[in-house]
């Protein structure tokens, strides 16, 4: 079964071709150009290089967040557009689940951290049991204040392997709290890669066996919604007095 995957949830544009559980080709760009400029040309080059055509594909996979709101939507709109025209099933995976594959085979807990601004990370916690097909999710995806999350991880008394686009930048801060128990993988392993999306999408396909309705996974509400809800709450509590 042949498929392509798209991950634009961070600054990295990652497009890959997969055949069953095998990675066939991947494009990775971590430059200042936008996803919108890179994504179709990258896909086109990959297909040409692999000597594949769009018509040979059996499935489209996309990473649906969390991450950059705009990036999430670009990836989904592109994947949906391709799937709609080619009449292919569409499969989506969570960015943090995909990143867990960066730490496949590690003994430590694997903790992907993605920059969520406002001093927060999108994060989750996984563990790979020896020989497992998929990482166990120990803490589900959430947006977490950085200090609170590091304190929580410290309290677990386990070794933690950090991956994701925030890992390198936060190295000092992480080691300050977790010391020797923190492992930070180099960026070329730790940033989102097509290889991880291919693995996660194939795993997901094994579970579902069919396409699905894909919606963005933001975790966070928009600021306007949050502010409006706060105002509503204030209005309601005033009304009760």
């Amino acid at each position: 079964m042949k498929y392509l995957t798209i991950d634009t949830t961070t600054k990295v544009t990652a497009v890959a071709l997969g055949e069953d559980r095998r990675l066939v080709g991947e494009g990775f760009l971590n430059t200042t150009k936008t996803h919108s400029e890179r994504i179709i040309p990258m896909l086109d080059q990959l297909l040409t290089a692999a000597d594949w055509t769009l018509q040979e594909l059996d499935m489209i996979g996309v990473v649906r967040g969390p991450g950059s709101f705009t990036g999430i939507r670009i990836g989904i709109a592109t994947a949906q557009g391709l799937a709609q025209v080619l009449k292919l099933p569409l499969i989506s995976v969570v960015s943090l689940d995909a990143l867990a594959w960066a730490g496949k085979g590690r003994m430590e807990d694997v903790v992907p951290i993605l920059d969520a601004r406002k001093n927060e990370w999108y994060t989750a916690r996984y563990n790979w049991t020896r020989g497992a097909e998929k990482a166990d999710c120990l803490t589900p995806p959430q947006a977490m204040p950085i200090d609170k999350w590091l304190e929580y991880l410290k309290g677990l008394d386990r070794s933690i392997c950090f991956v994701g686009d925030a890992a390198e930048k936060a190295k000092g801060r992480i080691e300050e709290v977790l010391g020797e128990r923190a492992v930070i993988l180099p960026e070329y392993i730790s940033l989102p890669r097509g290889a991880y999306a291919v693995s996660a999408v194939w795993q997901r396909w094994q579970e579902t066996g069919e396409g699905e309705q894909v919606e963005p996974y933001y975790i966070r509400f928009s600021e306007a919604e949050v502010n409006w809800a706060k105002k509503e709450e204030a209005r309601r509590s005033e009304g009760h007095e």
């Binding site: 709101f69 705009t70 709109a77």
Partner: protein
Amino acid sequence: MTESQKSNVVILGIETSCDETSAAVLLNGRDLRSHVISSQITTHQKYGGVVPEIASREHSLHFQPVVQQALDEAKLTFRDLSAIAVTYGPGLVGSLLVGVSGAKAMAYAAGVPLIGINHLEAHIYANFLEHQDLKFPLLALLVSGGHTHLILFEAHGQYKVLGHTRDDAAGEALDKVARTLGLGYPGGPQIQRIAQEGNAEAFNFPRAMLEPGSLDFSFSGMKSAVLNTLNSAHMRGETLSVPDIAASFQQAVVDVLVRKALLAIKETRVKTLLLAGGVAANRLLRETLDQKLAEKGVCLVYPSPIFCTDNGAMIATAGYYHYLKGDFAPWTLNAVPGLGLV
């Protein structure tokens, strides 16, 4: 391009620049086979205006179904298309990117050309959908929530901006006054509605004409005059008639637009004025222009109201003329939120 390629041109037009997700299928530039508009107005109403992040989220959810519905209603598939046209600016960047990304993937997968459309140009082209016999040169008055432009349109794709607003757009000023009057969003239609019950001569708001001969606009001072009038009445403990204020302000805005349009006609000696943009649906503006232009022997053309607000049909119409010229976009097409007309 061969003659047969020009004889059965089917364009899918896609618009996501602000708060409408819209798609249309157009045959040969005149035969609108389908037109789907999914409006977000009710979603944004509780915030008193368009919230960019929420608009993008809504586009992301509605984009694919809207396009599919447009194709289904036209009883066509992607394989029947000659090209896909999409708005790439100006507009809200997050919203534009949903349409641009989706349209690009669709065109790439369908093996058809992609056409990048300037939203302002498309508003003007909305006139060509219902009037194919328009003769160049044309003059266009583009009035919307974001834009107030007087444009000399010399040939397909050739524009000269004769004047534009130096501060607020006409629609923006109407929106702000509507909000202050508690009329809600979107302001233009609300002002028009309540103005019917008011006296347009009750208040004499200033008409900002700028330097003699200038074709530029300025609505910010006119808007402030309304707010000052309201404030000082409030200080005196008086309440003013909302319909009178709405009617008088609408009259002032229309007067300025009409005077500037007449000045541009005098200078350019163009025989046809195209009205375009959301405010082009304003009845007072249409009627006043109609009457004043008839006196001068100038023809006024405007789109049906449905083609004045943001819509996919105008994108497809502009796309058709780009298609005839073989004017296609590369796969690197990006959203340009501040895109100008020239």
